[in-house]
């Protein structure tokens, strides 16, 4: 019996058990529209690539990391100085998180601007916004794990923000910290959330998101859809996947190069009794929120300024989540104003982030 026959036999055996030929046929027949906005389709799979790299490097780091007050910083130092190529693994983990969040932002903004969330893709958008929230929370919890001065101070500031919310604020802060202040309990809690709770949520949301994309198909530009024009399509497999592979290869190359030349350093272990170091700043994706809170006056009409700012941010988050329901007439005046709002939000976030760095 030759190898080809053996392979075909194994394939038939697998197909009989999993029904793979049905999936293969679906992927071959799935049409991918080709138009001037098609480039944005590639951001979705780029996020998936960075998430996969996160999982692989995360498993490698977890073998050495110890989430206790005494050992957290020392175990990260051990990864960086003693474990063979440990510093690169940590650098790839850190940079892929940055790249992933950047691509999530680009992906959502592109969907907002091209109005791809319109009927019947409202839930796809909502699951995407929840995925953004998950990614940001991943970044926030992961930032504390090296347990150095900067991560401790940034976490103190970050977990203090919900305190301004009336009624439930203090409870949320305590829930995040595990006590009144950031302590070893917070570290253990953040580690548990980072490696157990968030991955479960993210994988579930991702499964729903991908299922909905397969179910409803990829959106076409709103103008073409309204005019009833035929948009040129290509098959998902292999034409589109090969194009995606080109993007993945280049992104993985860029990621590894950045990880080698710009690895993150590790500061001395955090001292719970020490004063916060000067110039404490969160990760880049929280800078615009951080700067917004900084410029808010202490009192706005007899109400605490922070409370007003945090409540406004929460309202903005809810409106962002409900965007497909609010923007139900994308080609009319309201839809155009909402598109302008997307550009204004990007400009605001950029200006605030740069201001925070100055």
């Amino acid at each position: 019996m030759n190898i080809k026959k053996l392979g075909a036999g194994f394939q038939a055996w697998l197909d009989d058990r999993f029904g793979l030929s049905g999936i293969a046929q679906f992927l071959k027949e799935k049409p991918v529209p080709q138009h001037k906005h098609s480039i944005w389709y590639y951001t979705g799979s780029a996020i998936l690539i960075f998430f996969t790299i996160q999982i692989i490097t995360g498993f490698m780091l977890i073998l050495y990391y110890r989430p206790t007050l005494e050992e957290a910083n020392a175990s990260v130092a051990r990864v960086m100085t003693e474990v063979p190529l440990g510093w690169i693994i940590r650098s790839v983990h850190s940079w892929s998180a940055t790249f992933m969040i950047a691509f999530v932002f680009v992906h959502l903004i592109s969907i907002w601007v091209t109005k791809s969330y319109r009927e019947p893709r409202e839930i796809t958008w909502m699951s995407g916004v929840l995925l953004l929230a998950c990614s940001l929370f991943f970044g926030f919890t992961g930032y504390l794990l090296p347990w150095d001065d900067l991560s401790l101070s940034a976490t103190k500031v970050g977990t203090d923000i919900p305190r301004s919310i009336p009624v439930v604020g203090l409870w949320v802060t305590k829930l995040l910290r595990g006590s009144e202040d950031v302590t070893g309990d917070t570290l253990t809690r953040f580690f548990g959330i980072h490696v157990c709770i968030l991955p479960i949520f993210l994988v579930l949301l991702l499964a729903i998101h991908i299922y909905l994309i397969q179910k409803k198909g990829m959106s076409v530009p709103v103008e073409a859809e309204t005019r009833g024009e035929d948009v040129r399509t290509i098959p998902f497999w292999p034409n589109f996947v090969f194009r995606e592979m080109v993007v993945w290869l280049v992104l993985v190359g860029v990621l590894f190069s950045v990880a080698v030349f710009l690895p993150p350093s590790l500061d001395k272990p955090a001292d719970l009794m020490a004063a916060a170091p000067e110039g404490v700043k969160p990760e880049w994706y929280f800078l615009f929120l951080f700067q917004t809170l900084k410029i808010v006056p202490p009192k706005i009409l007899f109400v605490n300024g922070d409370t007003v700012a945090v409540l406004l941010m929460l309202v903005a988050g809810v409106l962002f989540f409900l965007l497909p329901i609010i923007d139900n007439k994308p080609l009319e005046r309201k839809g155009k104003i909402i598109t302008v709002l997307a550009y204004a939000l990007v400009a605001y976030a950029l200006i605030m982030s740069v201001w925070s760095l100055l």
Binding site: S75, A77, R78, T81, I88, S91, L249, V250
Partner: protein, 101 residues
Amino acid sequence: MKTHANKILLSLFLGVLCFGLFSVNFGWAQEIEQIQKTRPGENAAENMIVPAPKNIKEAIAIYVFLGWMWLSIFVLVYILRQKIKELDRIHKLKFFSSHKS
């Protein structure tokens, strides 16, 4: 005359090579010393750890890997581009033939 010039060039080349190797080794020796200083359990509390290759062997391995990776990426991207062109051509042919029938 030509042999003399060759000898000068060869000694210059060897000189540059030795100087390069010495300075690289010297640089790495300093980095290794710094890493050893910041080992946990010794005096890690006082210093910030700046990650870097542990020795010259690791450094060369990393840069060779990066070079090889980019070369592989360029070759693979080229092959994929050719494949995509061919697949698109076949797809267009199928599209027009289905329209004719």
